[in-house]
């Protein structure tokens, strides 16, 4: 059995899964919806398996066909798998979280009304997968909105919980604002190039801004459009100064949604960012400015994320700030994208993969512990080393990886990022990055100190369900495997990009 499934089948399957779940939610007789999530997890994991047998795109696709806006290359497939895996783990978290959830939604019975909470991530997953393949501004926009609107609902899902609603409203307003900037920016780029397909946009722009080309003199217009797009994407990936929504929304949202936001939304933002940057950076007339802006954004983001996390006591909020910091590291690689295209792309992809694993691991532990300690402050983790050594160890691994200690996935990601920054000669970024790592150690290790140094305030043992235990164990193993033996991931990325947007 090899390569018989067209890639688009995966998205279609995910969409159908989502629809089936909605039907089940509407027509199911029993109150307990957890089986839906379990089936969905199984299907999503199966789809990851199927994804290895997809057909490559046709060599010369007919004009006007699907391939005009949909590309399948190594990076795209990689991110599709990331989306599937993330969604599956988020569903595991959702299962772990369901007792908390049902307290805050209308309904009398335990479990009633949670079905949408399981099905919406599946739709978002479809959006993420489309985004991974999107090479046309239209598809990018639509996929991005599919994801964003899904998140609006999920963030505000706990309708009896004021903070969840508040987070939802904030996300809604700021998200819509960024959408406005995105489309307005796309408008300007379209206006200059006359195309929405990235490859054609690039070709037109490069020719147009070449010496004597028709567009010479319009650099400012192009830069204006590019900046608007970058601002919108900066919002999605939580780059300073467009990051203000992140801590509030992360803290208010149901924790599985927070995890999904920090992984899925960020991954989606970065894959789009990389795709559009490859277009913008190809135009010599604006390249310098774009890089300068990326450097500025990266420095601001690194400083803001890392320093602001230092005085933080709430773990969810701390992870929110740290996710801003991680966006900063990824932006370092983005700034190196034109000097070291392949290395930087590899760095971004690998960093995201590692980030996914460690973030999901930390949130999985966070949900389990927070539910039983009744709170998600750092002090609720005090003495976890005694209350549940397994979870404490898992959290230590996650923290070590987030902080960037070698032999973990997070370290290898950082290494690749710094390597490409060195290759690009971005020493200011490196200096700020090192500062950030130092600050990062401070706030990450705070968690370890709480877990091992401090005596528990609440001596009850913390129990872990079998599914959660399985996934925690798996993710711990994955953190080490990625950190020590990255070959499988790299092999997926090493295949040179074959889509139209690839550097030729």
């Amino acid at each position: 059995m090899q390569q018989i499934i067209p890639a688009i089948t995966l998205e279609i399957a995910v969409l159908i899964l989502g629809l089936l779940m909605l039907f089940a939610e509407a027509f199911s007789k029993t109150a307990d919806r957890s089986h839906m999530a379990r089936y969905a997890i199984a299907v999503l994991l199966a789809l990851i398996g199927f994804s290895f047998f997809t057909t490559p795109p046709p060599a010369n696709p007919a004009p006007g066909s699907m391939w005009d806006f949909y590309a399948v290359d190594a990076t795209a497939m990689f991110f599709k798998r990331i989306a599937l895996a993330t969604t599956a783990i988020v569903l595991v978290m959702a299962l772990e979280y369901r007792s908390v959830l049902s307290k805050f939604i209308p309904g009398t019975e335990e479990g009633r009304g949670t079905g949408e909470f399981y099905s919406l991530p599946v739709f978002i997953c479809a959006g993420l997968m489309f985004m991974a393949s999107a090479v046309d501004f239209i598809l990018i926009f639509v996929a991005l909105e599919l994801v964003t609107i899904g998140f609006y609902v999920l963030v505000a899902y706990m309708r009896k919980h004021a903070q969840s609603l508040e987070a939802g409203v904030k996300y809604l307003i700021l998200g819509a604002l960024s959408t406005g900037f995105l489309v307005y920016g796309i408008t300007w780029i379209f206006g200059l190039s006359g195309h929405t397909h990235l490859d054609k946009v690039r070709a037109t722009l490069v020719a147009g801004f070449a010496a004597g080309g028709p567009l010479v003199g319009n650099e400012h217009a192009l830069l204006f459009g590019i900046m608007l797009v970058l601002i919108a994407l900066g919002f999605k990936i939580a780059a300073a100064p467009f990051q203000l929504w992140v801590p509030d929304v992360y803290q208010g949202a149901p924790t599985p949604v927070t995890a999904f936001l920090s992984v899925g939304s960020k991954a989606a933002g970065f894959i789009v960012l990389v795709r559009v940057l490859e277009v913008f950076l190809a135009v010599p007339a604006v390249r310098g400015k774009v890089i300068a802006v990326l450097v500025l954004l990266a420095i601001l983001t690194l400083l803001y994320g890392n320093l602001t996390a230092m005085p933080q006591d709430n773990l969810k909020r701390l992870f929110a700030y740290s996710s801003i910091a991680h966006a900063g590291y990824l932006l370092i690689a983005c700034a190196a994208l034109s000097a070291d295209p392949f290395g930087a792309k590899e760095a971004i992809s690998f960093y995201l993969a590692g980030y996914l694993v460690m973030t999901l691991l930390s949130f999985l532990v966070l949900i389990t512990v927070a539910r039983q300690s009744r709170g998600d402050d750092i002090r609720h983790f005090a003495g976890l080393g005694k209350r549940n050594p397994f979870l404490a160890f898992a959290m230590t691994v996650a923290i070590a990886s987030l902080a960037g200690i070698p032999l973990t996935a997070g370290f290898l990601g950082k290494f690749l990022v710094f390597k490409s920054a060195v290759a690009a000669g971005q020493y200011a970024l490196i200096a700020v990055g090192i500062l950030g790592v130092g600050a990062g150690f401070y706030y990450y290790i705070k968690v370890i100190a709480a877990m091992y140094w401090d005596e528990p305030t609440d001596k009850t043992e913390i129990t872990v369900g079998p599914l959660t235990r399985l996934f925690v164990g798996g993710l711990v193993a994955l953190v080490f495997v990625l950190g020590i033996w990255p070959a499988p991931i790299l092999n997926q990325l090493s295949e040179r990009p074959i889509s139209a947007v690839a550097h030729k």
């Binding site: 501004f137 239209i138 926009f141 639509v142 909105e145 609107i149 609006y152 609902v153 505000a156 309708r159 009896k160 004021a162 903070q163 609603l165 508040e166 987070a167 939802g168 409203v169 904030k170 809604l172 307003i173 819509a176 604002l177 959408t179 406005g180 900037f181 489309v183 307005y184 796309i186 408008t187 300007w188 379209f190 206006g191 006359g194 195309h195 929405t196 801590p247 509030d248 803290q251 208010g252």
Partner: protein, 107 residues
């Protein structure tokens, strides 16, 4: 006086700015939300304008932009649906739609 592309762009820019100003200045979340829709419509206007003034070799306008416009309208509708639902839920929970009142999450 003939209407040039620049006129359209100017109007669209004004729309965008008015929308953004509304977001910054109005206190009621529903009105803020309406202003956000205004910003999307500014984009729509300029897109159509670009499409109209960017006539291809075959003499037809560039339909890509018009397709995008339709998508934006559709997406905006979905966004409004979800957004209003959230705002209604918020109003039910907190009996307010003022931005100053929803500041429990901070620092």
């Amino acid at each position: 006086m003939t209407l040039t592309l620049n006129h359209y762009l100017l109007v669209s820019g004004l729309l965008f700015s008015i929308g953004f100003a509304g977001v910054l200045l109005r206190r009621n979340i529903i009105i803020i939300f309406m202003c956000l829709e205004l910003m999307l419509n500014a984009a729509n206007l300029s897109l159509v304008a670009f499409s109209r003034f960017n006539v291809g070799a075959d003499g037809l306008p560039n339909f890509n932009a018009q397709v995008l416009t339709f998508f934006i309208i559709t997406v905006a509708a979905a966004e409004v649906a979800v957004g209003l639902a959230i705002i209604v839920a918020l109003y039910r929970a907190r009996q307010t739609t003022h931005v100053e009142d929803i500041t429990t999450l901070k620092f």
